[in-house]
Homo-oligomer: 196 residues x 2
DNA sequence: CGACACGATGTCACGACATGACATCGGGGC
DNA sequence: GCCCCGATGTCATGTCGTGACATCGTGTCG
């Protein structure tokens, strides 16, 4: 028989999420998590670089997945649309929405977690910008499309998560948000007669 | 004569900035800062809630100032323009540009600092959204304008900081970035014939 | 079959960050 | 001239995160 139980990482993840739900993130110590998972705190830090990372463990795969969607977009003539579509077209529904809601609630309730979230989002936007650039979009346009597109999507994502159970799907919400955005940025003004 | 030297906060700030410049943020401990400022570490934490805050001490006043510019904008018919103008029209030049450059360099070089920066930026965008909403802009449009406008400005601000000494002023760079943004978001497509 | 390298975990020690509780004492107000 | 207040110090403590090294099942290779 093994010297220790297998599945330390899973036990740690589960223990952490349970404790966060029970007593909040701040009031949960790594020692508590480790105890509940029947390992030492040192082991916790072998799997997670810090306490926050438990909640972002899968973010890196997700990031790669989403980046691929930009890299493989059929056409980058409308970079903003590419970014928004890469994000909104992803199958978020396949993840349990209630889980996402709880996770988001934890994050916005805690500055430390929000910090981590914002950095990950910013890093992803940077990835997007790089990908767009490699596909021929100018540096400045690529950064604008990546950052603005991410914000537009995030507004939609937050509305979608907040919405009552069973309402419209994310793609639909995103379309609505994009429409609102067009109304908010009446850019035609600066090029009065220009069609195309 | 006073029991202790006056000006602890100033000495702490100066000591911290010097040490950060000399050895970087991570490799500077609060103990070192306090020693150099001739106070105890406990005193450091009475003035700064944590080690990072030294670099963000004035951010709150700035935030209020910028928010006021949104609140007092003459017209909110084009909320995106209001946000961008509130940010870009502020007199950043009155602050030493070289100081801003060094500060920015410290921040992007260190994840902890970047986290703090992003949270402050996000909070400011939230403020903007609230202000726009109180002035009659719809909730969703307000959030979009605030967040997207902030990103657009940040792209411009970063370009401006990075630019060679003596080049165009921030407002001009912002105009250029706005122009690029219009090119990146060819929104006319969805409302083919619609004039305002 | 037995030696041995590997990998997951434990143990220990430590430094840094952050905060609460209480002590100290100079200076300014009454 | 007394007394309170505010700025600072002192001490103790809890938590986070990391380096160094020990332990010992397991699977592999000869």
């Amino acid at each position: 028989m093994p010297r220790w139980e297998h599945g330390s990482e899973e036990r740690l993840t589960q223990a952490a999420l349970d404790l966060f739900a029970e007593q909040g993130f701040e009031d949960t110590s790594v020692l508590q998590i480790a105890d509940r998972a029947r390992v030492t705190p040192r082991t916790f830090f072998r799997y997670f670089s810090d306490k926050r990372e438990v909640l972002f463990a899968h973010a890196d795969e997700l990031r790669g997945e989403l980046l691929r969607r930009v890299v493989e977009a059929p056409d980058v003539g409308d970079p903003l649309a590419v970014v928004v579509e890469a994000l909104s077209g992803f199958d978020w529904g396949s993840r349990d929405r209630e889980v996402q809601r709880r996770r988001q609630a934890l994050i916005v309730a805690n500055t430390e977690l929000l910090e981590r979230e914002l950095v990950k989002n910013a890093a992803m936007a940077e990835d997007f910008a790089g990908a767009l650039q490699r596909r021929g979009v100018g540096a400045r346009s690529a950064r604008l499309a990546a950052r603005v597109g991410s914000q537009i999507f995030l507004v939609a994502y937050e509305e979608w998560l907040a919405a009552d159970h069973g309402s419209a799907d994310l793609a639909a919400v995103t379309d609505e948000v994009m429409a609102s955005f067009r109304a908010v940025a009446p850019q035609a003004r600066s090029v009065p007669g220009a069609g195309s």
